[in-house]
Structures are given as structure tokens and as C-alpha cells.
């Protein structure tokens, strides 16, 4: 299937998904008992004040009308105004989104860089001690409550050893690089500020390790099982039969084929990383969307919650699109099969 068709198909799906997501989050968030107007007005506010706020925020309108207004705004790229902060939701989210994304992407890269070799080793030395160790590590990753691990790392590496900072994205006094992508690592390199770069990297280590440890298990497990599958394929036997060295067979023949089915899993993992960041961010004072959305839910900040859900599902669909395009790149068979 040509590229533009895949894109077109995904974009149609995107509209659908965003609509669906907004409906679901709208319904669910309005099911939460509580009145945001009262929350804003404060403890001691009179009924009249609460009513006034309700009116100002349009909360007195019937639900379908509220949704309709929301949808109209959405179509114009307006995610509404946060009840809690009084600022446009999009503006708030964009302040937090790059941080979350940076953490997620770095964690994914880490998870891949560590997880793929582990998975390969584990498959190649199936049932040997390497395999047992690797599988133990990956199962521990999958089974580890992320927040628990994070807290432990802070205590050890900040509290006792002082090797890494306790949290945040930059040390105080280190200038924030001019905004280009919102990723401090990238922006600081673009601006040529190596000090900022190292500082940002230094801050990323613990949270990224925490987050990637969980997904490292997912990745290495997936790679292991698809490697095992590929290693039992005929073409591997062929490659061996023609005298290709073991590691060439594993890395140049089996691995590319094993990566193909794994791409989907990795795409989904990045999606999960985005959500998974919520807990990690709390522990590491990481200024991402996680804390924002938890607070928003607790403050019944409907537009903010919906905005978050819509943005993340948007990214999720885009990721899927990316995965599809990646398939085109790595699997020549796709073009034919469509």
C-alpha cells in the first residue's frame, strides 16, 4: 500500500478515535461526583457565587450542549480552558507534554538498547544460565511496581551516594535552552550548550532507568520469543548450511526478521510509557503531564482531563501511523500484501 494511502487511512481513523476518546472521557469525567464550580469558588463561597461561576464556565448547560461546544472548539484546535488554572488547556499541556515525551522516548531508547540485546542473548542461549538470568531480569522488570523502584533509586543514588539529582529536569541556575522541540537534550545540543545538555542528561538517568526497566522486560521478552521463532525458521538453517558465522546469522538474518513483529509491540510500549510516566513523574518531581492530569482528575477539571486524553490518543494514533510507515521501511513484503 502506498504511503499516502496508509496516511489517509490513519487520518480517517484519527478523527474517529479522537471523537470516541472525547466522548468516553467526557462521559466518564462527568460521572465523577462533585461540582468543579464549587471547587473553584472555594470552601466558604455562597451559593450565588457558585452559580455565577457555573454559568461562566458553561457548566449549567445541558450535557449534550456542553459536549457540542467542546467539540466545536476541538475542531478548531481549541481544547478549552482549564477550570483549575484558568489558562487554555492546550497551553498547559504543551508546557508539560515535551517533558513527558522526552522521558518516554529516552526510556524507550534505553529499553530497546538494553532489551534487544538481552532478548537476543536469551534466545540464542535458550535454557542456559544466560537465558535464566535475562529472563529473571525481564520478569522482575515487568513485575516491579515502578513507583517503588523509583523511590528506592532516589534513596540510594541521591540520598546515600549523591550521584544523581533527586528530581526535576535541570539543576537550578542551569539555563533552560531556547524552545525548539521542548526536549532539553535536543534543544541544548541545537543551542550548543553542552553544560545544559549534560545537566539534563544527568537528571534523566534515574527516572529513565526506572521507566525503562519496566519496559525492558516487555521488549526483551518480545524479542526473545520472536527470535526463537525466527531461529527455528528454514532460512536460518540455510544460512548456517552455507557456512555463515553464527553471529552473522543471528544478527543479520534472524534479528531483522524478529524485529518486524516487534515493531508493533515497541510502538505500543511507547504509548504505555506515556501513561506509565504518570507515576514515575510523581516520584521524580518530573514536570510532565502526569502530575497535571492526576491533579486535574481530582479537581474535576474536565477540559484538562479531556484535553490530556485527546492529546495522548492523538499521539497514540500518530505512533501507530509511524509504526505502519516503519513496516514499509523494514518489511519489503508489505507493499505486495497491502
Amino acid at each position: 500500500m502506498p504511503v499516502f494511502q496508509i496516511i489517509a487511512k490513519r487520518l480517517v481513523g484519527l478523527v474517529f478515535v479522537v471523537l470516541g476518546v472525547s466522548v468516553i472521557t467526557f462521559i466518564v469525567s462527568h460521572l465523577i461526583p462533585g461540582d468543579p464550580a464549587r471547587l473553584i469558588a472555594g470552601d466558604r463561597a455562597s451559593e450565588a457565587m457558585v452559580d455565577a461561576i457555573r454559568e461562566k464556565l458553561g457548566l449549567n448547560l445541558p450535557l449534550y450542549e456542553q459536549y457540542w461546544l467542546y467539540l466545536k472548539g476541538l475542531l478548531q484546535g481549541d481544547l478549552g480552558t482549564s477550570i483549575r488554572t484558568g489558562r487554555p488547556v492546550l497551553q498547559d499541556l504543551l508546557a508539560f507534554f515535551p517533558a513527558t515525551m522526552e522521558l518516554a522516548v529516552v526510556s524507550l531508547i534505553l529499553a530497546i538498547l538494553i532489551g534487544v540485546p538481552l532478548g537476543v542473548l536469551s534466545a540464542v542461549y535458550k535454557n542456559k544460565w544466560i537465558d535464566q538470568i535475562t529472563r529473571t531480569v525481564s520478569v522482575m522488570g515487568i513485575s516491579m511496581p515502578a513507583f517503588w523502584l523509583g523511590m528506592g533509586l532516589i534513596i540510594i543514588f541521591y540520598g546515600n551516594l549523591s550521584w544523581f539529582p533527586a528530581g526535576g529536569r535541570l539543576s537550578q541556575g542551569v539555563p533552560v535552552p531556547p524552545f525548539v522541540t521542548g526536549f532539553y537534550l535536543v534543544d541544548s545540543l541545537l543551542a550548543g550548550e553542552m553544560r545544559t545538555f549534560y545537566n539534563a542528561l544527568w537528571h534523566l538517568v534515574l527516572p529513565a532507568l526506572t521507566l525503562s526497566f519496566v519496559h525492558l522486560g516487555v521488549v526483551s521478552r518480545q524479542i526473545r520469543s520472536s527470535m526463537l521463532e525466527q531461529l527455528s525458521e528454514d532460512y536460518i538453517r540455510t544460512a548456517k548450511a552455507y557456512g555463515l558465522p553464527k553471529w552473522q546469522v543471528i544478527l543479520r538474518h534472524a534479528l531483522p526478521n524478529a524485529l518486524i513483529p516487534s515493531v508493533t509491540v515497541l510502538g505500543l510500549a511507547l504509548g504505555d510509557l506515556l501513561y506509565g510516566a504518570v507515576l514515575t513523574e510523581t516520584v521524580f518531581s518530573w514536570p510532565g503531564m502526569g502530575l497535571y492530569v492526576v491533579n486535574s482528575i481530582q479537581a474535576l477539571d474536565f477540559p484538562a482531563v479531556m484535553g490530556f486524553a485527546v492529546l495522548v490518543s492523538f499521539v497514540y494514533v500518530l505512533l501507530n501511523l509511524l509504526v505502519d510507515l516503519l513496516y514499509l521501511l523494514i518489511d519489503p513484503r508489505i507493499k505486495e500484501v497491502g
Binding site: 532460512y235 548450511a241 523494514i330
Partner: protein
């Protein structure tokens, strides 16, 4: 090529002596090979036939030592290739032999090539592995090889992925790959089973032509008797992990001696009048995990006698020393007739 032609022994490109291989499994072991004796001389085409599960592929894979070393046990015997003891070579030495001295072609051309690598690259990789020439040279060589396979537009095929080619074409690629380093021996494990008859014929003809041109010997594994009779000079018949009969093809086909071979040939529709009942071999192939200590064909044999409870050896017939059979009854009978 016969045993009694003394002095030629060194010319066996492959010689398997009393090979016994088993796969340990839950409670015991699958005795996949139970004393296989098999020889291929330089330049000849030898057939290996037998029912599914009789150990043909294990035999072939052992010749290349392609089975993961932790999954099997060699309990006795040896494999020699051009004088080298394959079972004693290191993995590195073995790698150097594979592809250059001995090559292999597999049954499923569909899955035997890496699906995401262009075929040209796959061939080049093999050439570069065994010969120290430049990449450009290797490409030239590859194209020439493809041309030798009667492929009309080698450039296009060179740049194709396997899935873009038909089954026959893929099998030709496999052949090109197999001959890329001019091996002395080619083991072809059912190379045409997945192909149409018309394509099968082309592929077999091509194989033979290449072998003749390069002087390579071929061990052709198949269960199609007709293919054997058309293409092979000699044939080995396997049953339950052992060779039960071996001889010149025309002898074996015309005058099968072992009861199993006889049954096999009689079961072919080609050999009877249409519509009449085919002869069948009763009973079932023994479970290789619980092989009785007797002639493995005994439970299905119409001619069994007391002596069959001893395992027979594969011995030349007195009447025709080029024809060997592993059956007490036939051997005794032959001896009696010869006297």
C-alpha cells in the same frame, strides 16, 4: 562406484559408516539413525529414498552437522567428507566446509531464503564468506551464476526479494547458492517436492547439468521413486533409521530384493493396471523411541522367520556384489541360489 573397487576409497566425497544418532526426549530417546552406511563418490548422483520419518533428513543434516549439538547424541559411527572426519571438526572448521566443500538445498524454497534480504545479497554474502574477493567481483560472479541458472534477467532477480519470485525461481536461486562456491558434494533434501511436475523437471535437469559441469556429486533425497529412477545412478533405501537396500538404480527398481522395497514399489499406482487394488504393506512404522531389538521391518514383513529377531547387517549379495540388502531371508536365499 563400488566398495570392492579398491583404491578408490579416498574418492568418497561422503562416507557414512555405521552412524547411530539419537535424540534424547522425555523417557528415553528417539533413535533416529540406527547404523547408516552410505557413500557418495565424486561426481555421482545418488538417491536416498524412504518413508517419511525414516531418517533421511537427519542423515543429511548430520553430514553438514547442522543439528544443534545439544539436542542429539552420536552413539557410534563416523562421517567422512573427502577424508575428513566431520564429527571431529571444530565448529570453525565446519563453517569453512559448509557452502564451499559441501552444500545443501532444502525442500521448501518458500521459507529457505531470508524473506527480508534481497536474493543477490544473500548469494554475495555466501561467496564473500568463502572467497577473498571484492564485493564487486562477487556481484559479477553472482550475476554469472544466475545466468547459468537460465534466468532470463539476472539483474532484476538479483534485486528481488524472495517473495517476489515464483517457487521454481526460488529453487533456482537455491541451486545458484549451492553452487556458488563450487562444492564437491551437494545434498538436496527433497528439492522438488513442493514444485509442480513441469517445474520439477526443469529444476532436476538444471541440478544435473550443474553437477556435470562442476563435477560435484549429488545426494538426492526424495520419496519419489520415479525421480530416483530418472536421475540417480545409485540409490539407498532407508527404513526406520537404517539403510535396508542399496545398489544401482536400475537393479533396485527392476529387481528390488528387500521386502520393504518390494512393498514400496508394488504400492505405486504406476506399477499396476488402473483400477486394480494396489499392494500395501500392512502394519505400521515402528516407534523410533521404542525400537525392538530385531529387524525393524519384522512386524510388517510377510516373510519373517525366527532369524529376523536378530538385527540384520547390510551385506552385498553374492549374486551381485554391487547390490546390498539388509535382510536375513534374502541373504540366505541368495546364498542358496548362488551355490
Amino acid at each position: 562406484m563400488q566398495d570392492n573397487q579398491a583404491g578408490q576409497v579416498n574418492e568418497w566425497v561422503l562416507s557414512v559408516e555405521d552412524l547411530r544418532v539419537e535424540f534424547p526426549i522425555y523417557k528415553g530417546a528417539v533413535k533416529a539413525l540406527n547404523g547408516v552406511n552410505l557413500r557418495v563418490a565424486a561426481g555421482e548422483i545418488v538417491g536416498l529414498v524412504g518413508e517419511s520419518g525414516s531418517g533421511k533428513s537427519v542423515c543429511a543434516m548430520m553430514g553438514m552437522r547442522l543439528i544443534p549439538s545439544d539436542s542429539y547424541r552420536v552413539t557410534s559411527g563416523s562421517i567422512h567428507q573427502s577424508g575428513r572426519d566431520v564429527l571431529k571438526l571444530s565448529e570453525k572448521q565446519m563453517r569453512d566446509i559448509r557452502g564451499s566443500e559441501v552444500s545443501m538445498i532444502f525442500q521448501e524454497p518458500m521459507t529457505a531464503l531470508n524473506p527480508v534480504m534481497k536474493v543477490g545479497k544473500q548469494i554475495i554474502n555466501v561467496i564473500l564468506q568463502h572467497q577473498s574477493i571484492s564485493r564487486a567481483k562477487a556481484k559479477e560472479k553472482t550475476l554469472a551464476l544466475l545466468r547459468d541458472m537460465y534466468i532470463a534477467d539476472p539483474e532484476r532477480v538479483f534485486d528481488s526479494y524472495p517473495f517476489e519470485l515464483s517457487g521454481g525461481m526460488r529453487q533456482r536461486i537455491m541451486i545458484a547458492l549451492a553452487f556458488s562456491c563450487e562444492p564437491k558434494l551437494l545434498i538436496a533434501d527433497e528439492p522438488t517436492t513442493a514444485l509442480d511436475v513441469t517445474v520439477q523437471k526443469q529444476v532436476l535437469l538444471l541440478l544435473r547439468e550443474r553437477a556435470r559441469k562442476t563435477g560435484a556429486a549429488i545426494l538426492l533425497i526424495t520419496h519419489d521413486m520415479a525421480v530416483v529412477s530418472q536421475f540417480c545412478e545409485r540409490v539407498y533405501v532407508m527404513y526406520a533409521g537404517a539403510v535396508v537396500e542399496d545398489g544401482f538404480t536400475r537393479d533396485v527398481m527392476k529387481q528390488p530384493r528387500h521386502p520393504y522395497t518390494q512393498g514400496l514399489l508394488a504400492g505405486l499406482p504406476e506399477n499396476v493396471k488402473p483400477g486394480t487394488p494396489l499392494k500395501t504393506i500392512g502394519g505400521q512404522v515402528p516407534d523410533l523411541a521404542q525400537l525392538p531389538v530385531c529387524c525393524s521391518f519384522m512386524n510388517r514383513c510377510e516373510r519373517k522367520a525366527d532369524i529376523c529377531s536378530k538385527v540384520p547387517d547390510l551385506l552385498p549379495l553374492t549374486s551381485d556384489p554391487s547390490h546390498k540388502v539388509a535382510c536375513w531371508i534374502v541373504q540366505q536365499e541368495d546364498e542358496r541360489n548362488a551355490r
